[in-house]
């Protein structure tokens, strides 16, 4: 508390942002406490659960392990920056449609990690999705609806008119 605040300028969700904070703060704390963006969650603050993931220069990072100071001049994207022009991002749309967000606490980090995956791979296989999301824990969904949502969003982002499979929302008949 006695440390004087530092000010950094960085690009936050597409906007040039200046923020002042105590220099020991993590990016997670700066986002939540100093920028008022509480969409980024935490489950451990020790780098173990993936719940705090955000995109730093388009790469997923654990914001609880990154210092706020280290983000000076860089690009940060949080879940608040995903929807654009009053419309949900296709990943958000698919997560909502399939119930891939149950309690929703892990969801922001899954969405951003998936966004980074799809940015580099438009047609990920189920195994590639599992690998990409292996650092994010979810206690509610068993991950299955999350995989299906990523696949659905990927198909739609490729321009396909995809819909949730009957089996995934009604079970095998």
């Amino acid at each position: 508390m006695t440390d004087p605040k530092v000010t950094i300028a960085f690009e936050l969700n597409g906007e040039l942002t200046e923020v002042a904070f105590a220099p020991h703060k993590t990016l997670l704390e700066v986002l939540r406490e100093d920028c008022g963006l509480t969409g980024t969650k935490h489950g451990c603050e020790l780098g173990e659960c993936g719940t705090c993931a955000v995109l730093l220069d388009d790469q997923p990072v654990l914001s609880c392990l990154a210092l706020g100071l280290a983000c000076s001049g860089r690009r940060v994207k949080t879940v608040e920056g995903m929807a654009a022009g009053g419309r949900l991002h296709p990943l958000q749309e698919a997560f909502a449609e399939l119930g891939a967000a149950q309690c929703g606490y892990c969801t922001p980090a899954f969405l951003l990690t998936a966004e980074a995956l799809l940015a580099g791979n438009r047609t990920p296989t189920r195994d590639e999705i599992k690998q990409a999301l292996a650092g994010n824990l979810c206690r509610c969904t068993g991950y299955i609806k999350i995989y299906e949502a990523v696949e659905l969003a990927a198909a739609r982002m490729r321009g396909e008119a995809a819909a949730p499979a009957d089996e995934s929302v009604y079970g095998r008949r």
């Binding site: 969409g39 719940t51 119930g99 929703g104 824990l137 969904t141 009604y170």
Partner: protein, 813 residues
């Protein structure tokens, strides 16, 4: 509504809060910030069992930025979730009972200062002998961890007899005994517990608490008791829970502490527990040792069953008395058990308290029973699927322990997974190292009795129709990710013929919403759903009468659909739903209704009959497929087929999510999750971190093939039964049975870790019994049994010699 075509119910829907959740807008407890807010931290005991000699807070109070420090003296009134176990203090009073027991609390202007202040609190302890396991508690009645309980360090002892089991064993062609152990595990919600309190000074004199709790009503009661405030001066708002699974169902120290600190400082006070502290809150699965003896006829029909369980309860009561009863309650609801004896004991130990985790007290005995049956089937040379199919509890029947079964879809569940998994081609036929295993289960759709005895409804709903066509539903139910808010909307939308998204729901706020007992025991869809159904039908009746008059048709012809109210015989003739509301409002004033739900009276009248009854039982069957590496003992589960009798899906997509999530959590318990302790006589949590407490990631999670069986139960709204907990139950025994099918060893202990598989394989190689598991059940000073003749022996639900009905103090969850 019966017979009417369903427009909303049964379809796959988006949840009402889906957009908020995918955009990060949902406010969880730690996302709340109030002006001038202080931060609280708790000082926790480093000792497993010790007397508190003194607590000196002088230095902490003197630290700049510290606004208040609390100790046990400031909150002397005990509390606890069950009326019979009021054994907790918000801050330890005279003793600490586990490593992590809260001792003192600080409020400061920042979390850093609060943390620094904790180091300045000087506590002198006088360590006492610690009890580290249930067996040790049995062997050492002294020193007592609590000064109450049935015997020494045994908190609760139960002995119930429904018919003469010895007679059953005498009639049997085969009598088999087995021992099992189920290690404790924890809920591990991704959201750490958090709470924020605010205080409005007199004359308001009111506390508001926002908390990540599954049971705001019980927190409300606990706060009123401990803070000695009238309930009307307390408002509890449950924030959406970032996962609960039973772990946020008790009133907690941190909730009471921040409320007290807010009153003392006159400022809002927030606390967010660290992940390590969440492990100390625990209330998870009780480690349970079990012994089961069953007599069967050559065809597999059970003639009698005797089941014993010994639960390691940890340092406090929590839901433990109910958990103990639950380890003996549901053995009878899947396969007929004509004579049944249950003995259950719960021990106090110096570890974090155990309580209700998904499946509450039933996964342990279900695992034991389903593996036990697998062994019996093998001895009888009957296919285990056939054995179960041949002996199913009939629908609309009463069990030996007086549980009333309604709809019963287990047969359909078994047939689905047998067919889907290719069971007949795989069982005992796969190459060494690969195997399949089958198991079944059942779970309650809400408990028949409330936690504290009262004769009021378990769930209430208020409904308001707006002249603009919107509807608001108010209910005390708590959204923990299972979709309970949305259930209210789907049901009301179905009845009133509007879209679920036309409906606003206001939930879990003790100032605004009628009481619902909470999100536990899989009760919410059935109970709040029935309350919503009643409120909606009453609103429909009001609107229909005015619309009928306007349309000049008999009221029976009025149909509500597509946001319209119209004539069934001439659908063109009608009016908009909003117009119907306006008509009614003009004629009779504001359109509002209420609905409530009380479960039917249970059939059992004996002491202990309060645990087990439910308005409806869900059923599940699962087949697990495993690959076992004989070199390393590593078990991989590629796929699980699961069929769940949900009665009727209200939102099919959400039902699928609950099934998959349950399979996931069951898989974690089957293979890796355990609360392990070390050091200081095995009372220090070995790994209170998300890294070291192993839970399945995307890489361990199996594929899941789900079948939804819809066998509507007349007790549920539109026939719906539970789905949030039941599908977890068969996973552990299915995996254990599959391991046996794969490599011929029995791991009679959960989790099935590589180490245990290897030990069993080594024994097998040496020609010893190919098994890993417990070998003895300790002698326990059981009380005189309560003898209740089963219904088919002329019983009336009462115990022999029982005088009046049950004493009210004994009625519990």
């Amino acid at each position: 509504m019966a017979g009417a075509k369903l427009r909303v119910v049964g379809k796959a829907h988006r949840k009402l809060d889906a957009t908020a959740k995918v955009t990060g807008v949902t406010k969880f407890a730690d996302d709340l910030f109030l002006p001038r807010m202080l931060y609280s931290k708790l000082l926790r005991s480093p000792h497993a069992h010790a007397r508190i000699v003194s607590v000196d807070t002088t230095k902490a109070l003197a630290l700049g930025g510290v606004k208040a420090v609390l100790t046990g003296k400031d909150l002397p009134i005990p509390f606890g979730i069950l009326p019979v176990s009021q054994d907790e203090h918000a801050l330890a009073h005279d003793k600490v009972r586990f490593v992590g027991d809260p001792v003192a609390a600080v409020a400061a202007v920042s979390e850093e200062i609060a943390t620094e202040a904790l180091d300045l609190i000087a506590v002198t302890y006088e360590p006492l002998k610690a009890i580290s396991s249930a067996e040790e508690a049995v062997a050492h009645p002294e020193p007592r961890i609590h000064d109450y309980g049935d015997y020494g360090n045994l908190h609760k002892l139960i002995d119930l007899e429904f018919g003469d089991v010895e007679e059953g064993f005498a009639e049997a062609d085969l009598v088999r005994e087995d021992l099992f152990f189920f290690e404790g595990s924890t809920h591990l919600p991704m959201e750490q517990h958090a709470a924020l309190a605010d205080w409005a000074p007199p004359p308001d004199g009111k506390v508001t608490l926002w908390s990540a709790t599954q049971t705001p009503h019980y927190v409300h009661r606990a706060l009123a008791k401990v803070l000695e405030l009238p309930p009307a001066k307390i408002r509890v708002i449950a924030t959406p829970n970032g996962g609960g699974f039973g772990g946020k169902s008790d009133p907690f120290s941190h909730e009471i502490v921040v409320a007290k600190l807010a009153i003392l400082t006159g400022r809002p006070v927030k606390i967010t527990l660290t992940r390590e502290e969440v492990f100390y809150c625990h209330r998870g699965r009780h480690p349970t040792l079990m012994w089961v003896k069953t007599g069967v006829k050559r065809n597999g029909a059970i003639t009698g069953m005797h089941f014993k369980s010994l639960l390691d309860g940890g340092g406090y009561g929590s839901y433990g008395v109910a958990s103990t009863y639950y380890t003996g309650a549901l053995q009878t609801v899947t396969y007929p058990v004509p004579r049944y004896k249950f003995q259950g004991a719960r021990a106090f130990t110096n570890k974090p308290p155990c309580g209700p985790k998904r499946g509450h007290g039933t996964p342990q005995p279900r695992y034991a029973l389903e593996v036990h049956l697998d062994k019996i089937a093998e001895q009888l040379s009957i296919d285990p699927a056939e054995l179960r199919l041949q002996h199913l509890v009939p629908p609309n029947s009463l069990t030996a322990n007086y549980l009333r079964i309604g709809s019963m879809g287990l047969g359909a569940c078994i047939r689905k997974v047998v067919e889907g998994s290719g069971w007949k081609q795989k069982f005992r036929k796969l190459p060494l190292g690969q195997g399949v295993g089958l198991a079944c289960s059942s779970y309650i759709s809400g408990a028949g009795l409330p936690i504290y005895w009262n004769n009021m409804p378990h769930s209430g709903v208020q409904l308001k129709c707006d002249r603009g066509g919107g509807v608001t539903v108010f209910c005390g139910s708590t959204e923990i990710g299972q979709g309970s808010d949305s259930i209210l909307a789907y049901i009301v939308a179905e009845v009133l013929g509007i879209d679920p998204f036309d409906i606003a729901v206001v939930t879990a706020d003790t100032d605004l919403t009628p009481v619902d007992l909470g999100s536990y025991s899989s009760r919410v869809t059935l109970m709040s759903g029935n309350a919503a159904l009643q409120a909606a039908e009453r609103a429909r009746e009001i609107l229909a009468s005015h619309a009928a008059r306007k349309l000049e048709i008999p009221v029976e012809r009025v149909v509500f659909a597509d946001r319209r109210v119209f004539d069934a015989e001439d659908p063109e003739r009608g009016l908009a739903f909003a117009a119907a509301v306006q008509l009614a409002e003009a004629a009779q004033g504001t359109v509002g209704t209420v609905g409530s739900y009380t479960p039917p009276q249970s059939a059992g009248r004996y002491r202990g009959a309060g645990v087990g009854p439910s308005p409806a039982y869900s059923y599940t069957a699962a087949v697990a497929e495993v690959d076992v590496d004989q070199e390393t003992g590593i078990v991989i589960v590629p796929r699980i087929w699961i069929a769940h009798d949900v009665g009727r899906s209200i939102n099919a997509a959400a039902v699928m999510g609950q099934v998959e999530g349950s399979v996931y959590m069951g898989l974690g318990e089957a293979l890796m999750e355990e609360m392990a302790y070390r050091g200081n006589r095995n009372t220090v949590h070995k790994f209170p971190s998300l890294l070291e407490y192993k839970s399945p990631t995307t890489l361990e999670m199996c594929d899941v093939v789900t079948y939804l069986i819809e066998d509507p139960d007349p007790s549920g709204p539109f026939g719906a039964k539970e789905v949030g907990q039941g599908p977890l139950l068969p996973v552990m025994p299915a995996v254990a049975n599959a391991v046996y099918d794969a490599v011929g060893v029995r791991v009679d202990e959960i989790p099935v870790t590589p180490e245990k598989v290897l030990k069993a394989l080594k024994r097998k190689a040496k020609g010893e019994e190919p098994r890993f598991g417990p070998s003895t059940f300790p002698d326990i000073p059981w009380p005189e049994p309560t003898r209740v003749p089963p219904p088919w022996e002329g019983g009336d639900g009462k115990a022999i010699g029982q005088k009046a009905t049950v004493a009210t103090g004994e009625r519990r969850h």
